[in-house]
Amino acid sequence: MAATPKPRVATVWLGGCSGCHMSFLDLDERLIELADRMDLVFTPIADVKTYPANVDVVLVEGAVSTEEHLHMAQLIRKRTRFVVSFGDCATTGNVTALRNRFSVDELLRRSYHELAPGGPATPSKIISPLTLKARPLHEVIPVDAFLHGCPPTADQIWFAVDNLLQGKIPELPNVYLRYG
């Protein structure tokens, strides 16, 4: 009997602090079990450059804050069966959205001129332009499930991933509903 292929899982880091990914690592020994149950095909923790096709589950951390995030979000949506907003920034904008009260110009001036130790210079090539506002993921693409918390706890992540790997969308509203 041929082994059924393992679910293809990805994690993506958009406009967030990577705290959600740290929390993912807090799964500790459960990570070993996960390694047996899935293929991690794209993640900031591994060095993969392009987001592959036919991904079964993706956890997306962070708000959509730059042109690149926007592009990535749309790519993710087309190539993934289940898209999960991973943490408060992806779900509500949260801390990333605190910048929304300032204009992009004000932000760049403050960050790259007033507070620049090595001499003022506004990035133009390497860093993707900021969008007008940082927005939650589901305002940009349809999202299938939400993981809350800043960051979501390891138990919460386990609950969601465990369900998703069984092909189930975590029961909504999930038992771990908790903002902040």
């Binding site: 907003s85 408060d88 779900t91 509500t92 904008g93 949260n94 801390v95 959205a97 605190l98 929304n100 009260r101 506002k133 927005r135 939650p136 589901h138 305002e139 999202v143 939400f146 800043c150 909504l172 509203p173 999930n174 509903l177 908790r178 903002y179 902040g180």
Partner: protein, 244 residues
């Protein structure tokens, strides 16, 4: 005063005609979510969370300011009402800047608890990310309008209980804001007695004490029915304060 019997969600209840359906529901341990209501203050029926269906009435009416009549059939738990409640919380979440992770009252917030109660997985309404002012000119307190839900508890407690009427509402519609006196910095208000009642009754992290950081502030509100019962009925309900 005649005693009235009627049903809420199929449960027979009794109460006086002068008691709101919300009061009677609470006496019978029937939970109806509220936000603008606070024991001890007048009711304004503004948040619309306590809306109920009453048999024979096509309109939904707020439990906080509707009074019972004999054999009334009240429902507060229909799917429609639950859906509407969730949408109201969505609308509130979208119109302000509610970043729980960095909020003083995180885990002690009525809006947050309501979001859990109604199962708010995500907000379908578009976040407005408004630019609202924070005023820290008062020596002891801060008002952060970004987190205000415009329940007007502060306006009412200041007017009805403290008698100072520092707070009122400026502008209208989506641009409404709570302002001090003649829309001036709170610290320059001459009518403010610094009693702090507004801070305690605020359901969210809009009115806060200085010096508290994320998740540190808890608000105790039992003082209000305590004061008001003493004033109106000359009765002391000190136990409520101790339990709070």
């Amino acid at each position: 005063m005649p005693v009235i019997t009627f049903t809420i969600n199929g449960v027979p209840v009794s109460g006086q005609q002068s008691e709101s359906i919300l009061e009677i529901a609470r006496q019978h341990d029937i939970r109806i979510p509220t936000l603008c209501h606070l024991d001890g203050l007048s009711d304004v029926g503004a948040c619309r969370l306590c809306l109920m269906e009453i048999e024979g009435t096509s309109k939904l009416l707020p439990a906080c300011s509707t009074y019972p009549s004999e054999n009334m059939v009240v429902r507060t738990d229909t799917d429609k009402l639950k859906r509407y409640r969730r949408t109201i919380i969505e609308l509130l979440a979208a119109e302000g800047n509610h970043q729980c992770a960095v909020c003083v009252v995180n885990n002690n917030c009525e809006l947050q608890n309501l979001a859990y109660e109604v199962g708010l997985e995500h907000v379908r309404a578009q976040y407005l990310f408004p630019k609202k002012e924070l005023d820290a000119t008062h020596p002891d307190y801060i008002i952060d309008r970004n987190r205000c839900v415009l329940c007007t508890r502060c306006v009412r407690v200041c007017h009805e209980v403290e008698g100072a009427h520092v707070w009122d509402i400026a502008n209208r519609g989506i641009n409404c804001e709570i302002v001090a006196d003649m829309n001036q910095p709170w610290g320059t208000s001459e009518s403010c007695t610094s009693c702090g009642k507004c801070v305690l009754v605020c359901p969210v992290g809009a009115l806060i004490e200085k010096g508290a950081t994320v998740s540190e502030m808890e608000k105790h509100r039992a003082f209000l029915p305590y004061i008001m019962t003493a004033r109106t009925k000359q009765e002391w309900i000190a136990r409520a304060i101790e339990e709070d």
